[in-house]
Every structure is written in C-alpha cells, then in structure tokens.
C-alpha cells in the first residue's frame, strides 16, 4: 500500500492507494507534535503501518521552526570583516513609509557570529590563505564554549572555490565531533553573499529540528512494524528518502504547496492536460502556480518570514485570500477582502464559534453556494443566520442588501485571485486563456468558474477529492534532486562545452548520491540556464534539454534567451547586446509508477434535487454519484466530501474517463 500524509495548519490529510482502492481521510492537526496527527490519520483510516510499502510525508515542521524561531542553537562563521552579513541584509525596507520598521530577525544572534581570516577571488584564486592557526586558537575554542548544535559557514566567493570552506569544515569536525556543520558551497553554491549566508544559516537552524522529528517518526514507524520506503516531500516538487534529508533539510521548507501542484499535475495528465493554472484556496490564503507542458516552473529563490532561501522551488505565488478572509470597508470607504483572516478561531461567522465579522465563506452561505447542512459532507453544520447578520453592516455601508454585499465580497475575492494568476501568467508573458484552470483546496472549486470568466479561460478541470490533492501529490511525487550553481561566463563559442562539463559533473555527483540511497532505475535529467544581458542583475531562466546540448551553439542559446526576455519585458535588447550565462540548475529525476485511478470519496449525504442559489433554483448533484460522461449544466452545485463545485449558468460540467470533472463554458 502507498500512503501520503500531508500535515497542514488545521487538517492532516491522508490518501492511501492499494490495488486500485483509494482511501481519503482528514483529521485535525496536532501542531505541537505533528507526528501524532499523522499517526492519528493512519489509525482513522484503519491502516496498519506494517502494510505500508511506500510512505511519503509532508509537514510544516521545518517552516514552523523558522516562523516561531524554535530552531537549533547555531553559530555562524564568515570571512574576516563580514560577520554582520546576516544583520546588514540588503539595507532596504519592505514597507517604505513604516517608521517603526524592523528587519526580519536572522536565526542567529550577533554574539554567535565569528570570523576567520581568508579571502578567495571570484575566479576561485586565493587572495589570502585560510589562517589555520586562527581557526585552531580562536574559532574552535569559541565554538566549543558556545554549546552549539550546529554551525553555518559562509565564506566570500565560496561559490567559486569551496577550498577554504572544505578545509574549515574539516578542521571543525575533527576538533568538535558531533557538531553539525553546514557549508554554503554545499547548501547553495551561488553568488550574492547575503542570500547564500541566509540559506546556509537557516539550513543549520532547521536541520536538528528535522533530524529529531524524522528520528521520532521513523522510530514510531519501525516500532509498529513498518519496513517500507519512507520519503519526505521537498519544495522543488519531488520527494527524497527521509535519510537524504539529514544532509539538506532546507529543501523540505514549504513543501506543502509544492505537493499540491504535483498532485494537480498528475491528476490533469490523466486527462491529457499539461498546460494548467493551478490554484489552491484554503482557509487563509491561496497558492497559485503556472504549469507548462506538465512542468511547473521553478524559482531560484524563496523566503520564509522575510528571510531569503536560495534553493530551487516550485514557483508559487501566495495571496491572502481564503475562505476565512475578512470582508471589510476601510477608512477611505473602499470594500476590501483580506489579507486578514478569521483563522480557525473564531473562524467565519457561520461556524458559530463567536465570529461576527463577515468572511468569504459567509458570503458563500448567504448567496447559497455553500449549503449549511452539506458542509464537509454534512459533517459540520453552519449557522446561516449568523452569516446574514455578519453582512448587515457592510451592506448598509455599500447601500445595498445582504445578498448584494455577499455578491460584492465574492467578486472582490475573485479579483484578488485573478491578480495572483496574472502575476504568474500575464506578467511573465503567458496568456491565461491558453491554460486550463485547475482549482483545489476546500474553497477552490466554488470560485473556479467565476475566476475563469474574468480571465477568459474556457476550461476548468476539477480533480476528484479536491480537498486532499496535496496528499495525493505526495504519493505521486517523483524522486527529484536539483542542484544550482553559479557559472558566470560571457556567451561564446566555448559556452556549450562549459555547460556540458558542469552537467556531467553534477550528473555524476547526483547519480552517485541516488545510487547510495538505493534509487536505481532509469533516471531523467533536466537543465535550466540562468542568463541575462551583460550588465543586468536579474537572470531569466532558459530551459534546455540536456540531450540537445551537444548540438547547440552559442547563437542558439542567445536566441532562446532573447525570446524569453522579449516575452517578459516586451523587448529583446538592442542588436549586438552581449549575453552572459550566470548559473545553471541541473536536475535528476526518477519517475514513479503511475498511480491507479482515484475516485471521488462518497459523502453519503441525502439531498433535495435543487436549492436556491443567488435567487434562482440550482440543481444539487452528488459528486461521487456522477457517472462518466453525465453532463450537468449550470446553475448547479456538485457537492463532494471535501469540496463543492459551483457550475454557473452558461457552464456545463461532466466527469471524464480519468475521473476528473471538466467544466466548459458553452458557446
């Protein structure tokens, strides 16, 4: 049996697949010890751990350790003169009119930052040798006295030559066995010292937390007789064996949103859809991503709590628009939705837990797109009167009735998500009309059609069990390792050969790592080049298939870059402007066997044939009871266990042979 367990802030989701049979379970999360929730989910699904052959886990343990600053006690070591890198940051402010501005707090205190005399030039040559006497007499005693669990090293130009970092690491490990050492050339061998130092420090900071968590998880599994493969999800959209996380925990950050995108891609592939805009709408926020030919694009950098993390991650944009987002009118009289949320407590007014401010979920209840007695498959009943009451004040101030105010709130929530979609599509030179919209998360399918209308998208693909797509994504994630390096050279005749040499080196290193982890079988390779015009500071990724590399000339690369630049900036540079390669990302992937078909979980709820939605009768349909090819024309609500799909007038939904529901605009 294959099992995916995704721990979220509110719910822990489980999807299990066994010989075509699929089980889907949602249990409350246990934030203090997320593993308890995970084992509760196994218990609730009635799955004995010894029957599981493949377990994939995604959790917010690493992310929360940073958000709550509950990571390890670490030290930071830099080149002499630069111990303040983490405090200087980039010298700018995120909020320019905030007089009380505070920089994001680094994961290490200044007293725990040390220096070593050394300096390497950007070409890798040595300007000043590593002062080993200073390491022995000053640094190591200080590290010994500090009682640290881990130390992060970031020396200038280590991306160009790791020699000094390697020697320093070796000396520390020899003198202080047991102290974990994270070196920047291993974690993020790319230029720009603050971003690399931040990544390395955060890696050292979360590593002991992840190790402890996975140790405990593994021990509990083993104690229950589990002998299968245990993998952990990464933010790059792939999984790695849990044991590999002992070397680089940083890739486990923000894995939840990535798992969702992977689940969406896999599910869409069953219906032969590869160009997608996915949006995962939950309680407090919505995550949006663009998928081209079955691949989500990568970003070279992300951040947690304002701290940059340089590691390849799926390029996901998050906006503060979820079911719990508050609807309010600001002091200038403008209607607003979010970014503040009612959260889990008190939650939307209709939850009846004391909330009085209207939310997006309340707006759905008022207009009828959420039926109070069909929420969570009838598992939670909602207070419709409280939802109406919550909107009275907004309605009065807008000069309309409660229905009108709720409709206005929904339109604004839609607009917020539309803007996030434009960020990943229009702003990057992609036309959203060339993509199918794929909503998931509890609140996604309710708004999908209205979002599609705004963007001119004519096809929506609603996967089965949209509320647990992230857990499904865990199950279907390939083993993936991505390595990014800085390789700055002007584009010339020798560039393709330089790239090929880097690829060969990275391929060998990664494949031997795969082999050591027992990941055998056919491996696939990917390559992304970061390029820019000489003089620019920001690179544009250009994808190249490693197999076509031998036949490519510098002119071919320049042409591909110019086309990418044109798409994003509406110009391709003057003729003759020089182009340079700045870095590259090489990926190794081992694909997994295809998953069996996943069916919609039945809710077992009995329902009348129709209900009033926005003043008109709409058909009520059980998502699990919808047979292949059966068409439902709007207005209709297709209700499932974890989510409801709204089919507005003018749209038709039908389940296809792959189990997905396709919504199309008529005419």
């Amino acid at each position: 049996m294959r099992v995916g367990i995704e721990v979220g802030g509110t719910f822990t989701d489980l999807v299990a697949v066994d010989q075509g049979e699929v089980r889907v379970i949602k249990v409350p999360s246990t934030p203090r010890s997320p593993d308890i929730g995970a084992f509760n989910a196994l218990g609730a699904a009635g799955i004995p751990p010894e029957s599981v052959t493949d377990l994939v886990h995604g959790s917010t343990v690493a992310t929360n350790a940073i958000l709550e600053r509950r990571g390890a006690n670490i030290a930071f070591v830099a080149t002499k003169g630069f111990r303040d890198i983490l405090f200087m940051q980039r010298h700018d402010r995120r909020s320019i009119y905030d007089l009380h501005y505070a920089k994001p707090a680094p994961p290490v205190r200044r007293r725990d930052c040390f220096e070593v005399p050394e300096r390497i030039a950007p070409d890798g040559s040595v300007i000043a040798p590593l002062d080993e006497a200073a390491v022995t007499h000053d640094l190591i005693p200080a590290l010994a006295a500090g009682g640290y669990q881990a130390v992060a090293i970031c020396l200038l130009s280590a991306y160009a030559s790791p020699a000094h970092e390697m020697r320093l690491k070796e000396m520390i490990e020899a003198a202080l066995p047991g102290l974990k050492v994270a070196a920047s050339h291993e974690v993020a061998p790319e230029f720009r010292e603050f971003e690399r130092a931040s990544t390395t420090a955060l890696s050292a900071y979360v590593q002991p937390v992840i190790d402890g968590y996975l140790d405990r998880f593994g021990a509990t599994l083993a104690g229950a007789g589990f002998t299968g493969h245990f993998s952990v999800m990464q933010s790059n959209g792939g999984r790695m064996p849990a044991i590999a996380m002992r070397k680089n925990a940083i890739t486990a950050l923000l894995s939840g949103p990535a798992a969702g995108v992977v689940g969406a891609i896999r599910q869409a592939a069953r219906s032969d859809r590869g160009n997608l805009i996915t949006f995962d709408m939950g309680g407090t926020s919505t995550d949006v991503a663009l998928v081209q030919d079955g691949e989500a694009s990568l970003a070279a950098e992300t951040e947690v709590d304002g701290l940059p993390i340089r590691t390849p991650v799926l390029d996901i944009v998050t906006v503060g628009a979820g079911g719990g987002s508050l609807v309010w009118i600001d002091d200038g009289g403008m209607l607003r939705v979010g970014p503040r949320s009612a959260g889990a407590e008190p939650g939307p007014a209709c939850y009846g837990k004391g909330g009085t401010q209207p939310t997006v979920t309340d707006a759905h209840v008022v207009r009828g797109t959420i039926r109070p007695d069909a929420f969570l498959g009838g598992g939670m009943s909602l207070d419709a009167a409280a939802a109406h009451r919550a909107f009275e004040d907004v309605a009065k101030r807008l000069g309309t009735d409660v229905q009108g105010a709720a409709a206005a709130a929904i339109r604004l929530a839609v607009a917020n998500i539309v803007r996030a979609i434009q960020l990943v599509s229009t702003e990057r030179g992609r036309d959203p009309r060339d993509y199918a919209l794929l909503p998931f998360g509890g609140a996604g399918p309710l708004l999908a059609a209205e979002i599609a209308e705004e963007l001119g998208i004519r096809e929506i693909l609603v996967p089965p069990n949209p509320g647990v797509i992230s857990a499904l994504g865990l199950l279907s994630a390939d083993y993936v390792k991505l390595r990014g390096i800085t390789r700055r050279v002007g584009l010339g005749d020798e560039t393709p050969a330089i790239i090929a040499a880097d690829c060969a080196r990275l391929r060998e290193a990664t494949e031997s790592e795969f082999a050591a982890l027992g990941l055998t079988g056919p491996l696939e390779h990917s390559l992304e080049l970061d390029m820019r015009f000489v003089g620019q500071a920001f690179e544009i990724p250009v994808t190249v298939a490693p197999a076509e590399l031998p036949g490519l000339t510098a002119a071919d690369l320049a042409e591909r870059f110019a086309a990418a630049h044109q798409r994003v900036y509406l110009h391709g540079g003057e003729p003759g402007r020089k182009v340079e390669l700045v870095g590259l990302r090489f990926g190794v992937r081992r694909r997994l066997d295809a998953l069996p078909e996943v069916k919609e979980r039945a809710s077992g709820l009995s329902r009348p044939p129709s209900a009033e939605v926005m003043g008109v009768p709409a058909k009520l349909v059980d998502a699990a009871g919808l047979s292949v090819g059966e068409a439902v024309s709007g207005p209709a609500l297709i209700e499932g266990y974890s989510s409801t799909t709204w089919v507005p007038p003018g749209w038709t939904g039908a389940r296809d042979a792959a189990g997905n529901m396709l919504l199309r605009k008529e005419g």
């Binding site: 010298h91 320019i96 905030d98 009380h100 950007p122 603050f194 200038g332 339109r411 003089g535 994003v568």
Partner: protein, 550 residues
C-alpha cells in the same frame, strides 16, 4: 460617471498592480548597480492631466514629484498633439525635477485614438556627464552637474533606436552600456504600464478606467484628511541642522512651522538658511516630496496609495533663495541632505502634536559614495547610496543599518562588486558598536564599509552629513554617533570632510562610517535585559552598558 463600488475596488487594485509591475520590471531589466541593485528608480501611472494615480513604492523621494515635473512637458506638448511612438523626457530640477541624474520618461497611453493617461518612470542614472564621473562634488552650478534635458518630445522610431536624441545622450555619458541600458529599462517599464491600462480600458470601457483614476486620487485624499483630522490643531515648530555647505560654512539651519487646521496641513520653511554655492541646495519639488513623505509616514496608515490625492491636503512653502527653494542655476546634486533636514524639522514639529507616532532622528543622511577609475578600457564607476541607523520609536529600537527614510536603496553584494570592479575590493562591512543613541528604546546602529584600492589613479567622491553634528534623541533619548570617512595610507589616517573628492593611491583603504539614530525616552527606563542583550551582541560596549541611564 458613477462607479459601482465593487468595480471601483477591482479596477483601482488593478491600476495599483500595474504600477507595481512597472516598478518591478524597471529594476529587473536594468543594467547599472545604482538601478538594478540599489533600486534607485520609481514608476507611476498618471491620468490624462498628469495627476499621479498609482505608483510603484520604491523611493519615497521620487514619488512625490512625478506629477509636478510632468506639467512643463504637458505645457509644451499638449496631449492632443502627441502621436503613437511619442514620449516625453525631462530631468531639469528647475522645472519640477529632483537632480539631473533622475531622468523622467512619460509615455502617453492611447486608447481609441485619444490619450487617457501616461505611464511614467524615473531612474537615477549612474553618470549623466558633468564635471566628474558619478557625482561632481566640486560643481558650483547646475551646468557642471551633468546634461540638462529640458522638456523634450521624443519619438521612439525617429529619435531612439539609433536616432539623434539617443545618440546625443550616448555621446555625453561615461558608461553608455549601463546608462543606455537603463533608459531601455525605463521604456520597457512604461510600455508595460501602457499595455495594462489599455487592457483595462478594453475590458471595462474607457469611462470606467478614467473614473477610477479620479476616484483613486479622491480616496487617498479622503484617507489622508481623515488621519490629519485626528491630530490636534495648532502651529508647531521644528528645526534641524546641516553640518556645513561643504566649504566650511555652517551649521546651516532648516526650520519648519507646521500648522494643522482641521484636515489640512501647511508647512512653511521660513527661517531656513539661504541657498549655498555647493550642491546641497534642494529644488522645491523635492522639498514637497520630503515634507509630504514625512507627514504621510508619521500620521497615516502605510497602505494609503501615494498619489496626487495625498498631496492635496498639504501645502508647502519655502522662501525663494533659500536652501529649500534655490534660484537657477544653483547646483542641487546632493539635495537629499537638505531634504532630510526638512524631514527632521517637520518630524520634530509633529512630535509635539502626536508624540506616540513619531520617531527620534535617525542618521537620516543619504551618503552617495562614488569610486571611479579611468582604465585602459574606459571608465569604471561604482556608486552606492548609504543610510545609517534609524531613530527609535515609542515601542521599538531603531532599525540598524538601513537606508534613509526618504530613500530605499539596497546595498550592492560584495560578491557582485568583486566580479564587476577590478580597481578596489571591499574588506570590511560592520555594525558600529555604541553608535545608536541611548534611551528607553535604543537608536539604530550605524555601520562602516572599507574599500582597499588596488590600482593607481582612482578617485573617491561623495557627499554626506552629520560628520560634526549628529542625530538627536527624543523625549530624553540620547544622540546617535556621527559619521566619518577616513583614508588609511602607509599607516597614517587621513580624515576627510563630509562632502569631498580625494585622489587615491594603490594600497589606500577608504573607510566610510555611517552614523546611528537617536534614542526614544529616558535611558533609565530601558529594561536591563535589553541592555544585557545588546552588550552580549557587541552592539554596545561594556563601558556604555555600565553608564546606561546613569
């Protein structure tokens, strides 16, 4: 035309998003370190009459004056006379601009044959000619500071892409690959803005888009006025001082009388020092920017869009012939210094009306620091803009090592400098111990950066302030440390003044040290645990910790 409140909310957010996208693309496609790393540029969308509607929030100083510098362009080239491909260019400080290095581009937004607005961008250019690369500390008039561009109508097809205007610019700048690339980035940003507004007009109709442009300005005005109305009426006075004019005359006072009457404010700078012969004069448009930025930051919510509407409740006056309203052609390159003192004077005045909202003085000095070298392959120019420590507030220590409130420039990564410049190397970048003012809340610390010079023939030129003066604390808080610039040559330290140019020798180490911010409240009220923490972290010395509050 009346707007449905929901359409208004959606459209206004779309216009703001378009301005933000313009700003992001301006920075990301730029070439010079000053624009791509320091992000010294801004972008905006204007209505057909030139009122700013939405801006990319990058540099507060530039944001206040985009609409003002548009007016002389419009007077010369009315929108009815513009054709497809035309755009307007200007940098003249005496026509509503900032300093010559800030060049403004305005692209008309045509829809169905008519101009419905303008997309605007401004970027600080690394070098625009003049008497010295990057910045000319010795300039005694505007002509010595660089190329003056009066209001110009330029056509992309005729005058750019190898045309006369582009070639004229290229011929007058020292680092054309970077400067011309940055101009292209401005054009790209404006084209994005034009396209987005055209898309909105096509989708929602022109009337709704133009109505939204008007409504968004009214919205900002309404929120500004609501916030001002909460502050007690009265006339409040504040002052601040510049060290000197760069030639040894000083200190120079900047004085503000801030009158709050209902939901309006007037700021009068009568009493400010006369204009000087050096580049610290501030063109009047920049003084309006500084004053409004201070009042907006101190009194209102940060999420009010900064546009023409936010300027309406505020009237600023400064007598002609003073530092804050100089007569043509006084030099103005370092106008940020006087503008920062205008900010300080206004803040001090407001502190009497709203003590819980203000902060102590920070180092509040823009230090433009330039290293240049003419090598065999042409000019190599490095320009960086530094801030210092922020002033402390009622509930927070001042932010350490951050840009001046009127600016928002990032630093250049040391590893980027290592790659791009062969004539110097950064050897140290450190927070300065004991540089933040004492108080219940500590002022932000300053920092220093050292550059080792690797060739003969390099020049350092810069302007700064508070080398002899310092930031003041507030409500009992102490002052922040002063700044300084020193050259270490053969074991000897050469101290430079706050506004200087100096020829360097191979082996010299130049250290620029930026000052700290003032403290807030009585030092004795600072919790012992915070003092102890600062001591452990080396932010304060043992001596200062022991003397704190005594």
């Amino acid at each position: 035309m009346t707007l449905d409140p929901v359409e208004y909310a959606i459209l206004s957010q779309s216009v703001i998003a378009a301005a933000r996208e313009m700003g992001a693309k301006l920075i990301r496609s730029a070439y010079s370190t000053i624009l791509r790393e320091a992000r010294d540029g801004s972008a905006a969308l204007l209505d057909a009459d030139g009122g700013t509607v939405a801006q990319a929030e990058l540099i507060p100083m530039q944001l206040g004056s985009i609409g003002r510098i548009f007016q002389p362009c419009a007077a010369l080239y009315p929108k009815e006379t513009l054709e497809e491909g035309d755009f307007l260019v200007i940098n003249d400080p005496y026509s509503g601009g900032q300093h010559l290095q800030d060049v403004f581009f305005f692209h008309p937004i045509f829809f169905e044959g008519e101009v419905i607005g303008f997309a605007a961008s401004v970027a600080h250019h690394l070098d625009l000619g003049g008497g010295s690369p990057g910045l000319n500390a010795g300039a005694r008039d505007l002509y010595a500071e660089g190329l003056i561009i009066p209001p110009m109508k330029v056509n992309i097809h005729r005058d750019w892409h190898g045309g006369g205007f582009q070639r004229l610019l290229r011929a007058n700048v020292r680092v054309p690959a970077q400067t011309m690339g940055d101009f292209d980035a401005q054009i790209a940003a404006n084209n994005i803005g034009v396209l987005r507004i055209q898309e909105l007009a096509a989708r929602y109709g022109r009337a709704k888009v133009t109505a939204t442009m008007a409504a968004l300005q009214d919205y900002s005005e309404r929120r500004m006025r609501a916030a001002i109305a909460e502050v007690p009426d009265g006339t409040y006075h504040g002052e601040a001082f510049l060290d000197d004019d760069g030639l040894g005359s000083g200190p120079l006072p900047v004085r503000a009388a801030v009158t709050i009457a209902g939901d309006s404010i007037t700021v009068d700078f009568t009493g400010t020092a006369p204009q000087v012969g050096t580049n610290i004069n501030a063109p009047f448009a920049s003084v309006i920017s500084a004053s409004v930025s201070c009042l907006k930051a101190a009194l209102t919510s940060p999420d009010i869009p900064f546009n023409d509407g936010s300027l309406r409740p505020i009237t600023v006056t400064a007598p002609k012939g003073t530092l804050l309203n100089p007569n043509h052609p006084a030099p103005v390159r370092a106008r940020m210094l006087s503008c920062s003192r205008a900010w300080n004077a206004v803040m001090q005045a407001v502190s009497q009306a709203a003590p819980e909202k203000v902060i102590a003085q920070g180092y509040d000095t823009t230090t433009a620091f330039c290293l240049s070298w003419l090598g065999p392959a042409g000019w190599s120019v490095y320009l960086e803009v530094y801030g210092g420590g922020y002033g402390a507030g009622i509930g927070n220590d001042g932010c350490d090592a951050v840009d001046n409130p009127l600016s928002n420039c990032s630093n250049t990564p040391v590893e980027a400098m290592d790659q791009d410049f062969s004539f110097f190397r950064v050897t140290d970048y450190t927070l300065r111990t004991d540089s933040g003012g004492v108080g219940a809340r500590r002022g932000g610390t300053g920092f220093s950066r050292s550059y080792e010079i690797l060739t003969e023939g390099a020049l350092v030129s810069y302007y700064s302030d508070r080398f002899t003066g310092h930031s003041s604390g507030i409500f009992g808080g102490g002052p922040g440390a002063s700044g300084k610039c020193e050259v270490l040559r053969d074991g000897q330290v050469i101290s430079l003044t706050s506004k200087a140019a100096f020829n360097l020798l191979k082996g010299d180490v130049v250290t620029i040290s930026l000052g700290g911010g003032g403290g807030y409240g009585a030092p004795a009220e600072r919790p012992a645990a915070l003092i102890q923490r600062d001591l452990e972290d080396g932010v304060i010395s043992k001596e200062l910790a022991e003397a704190w509050g005594k």
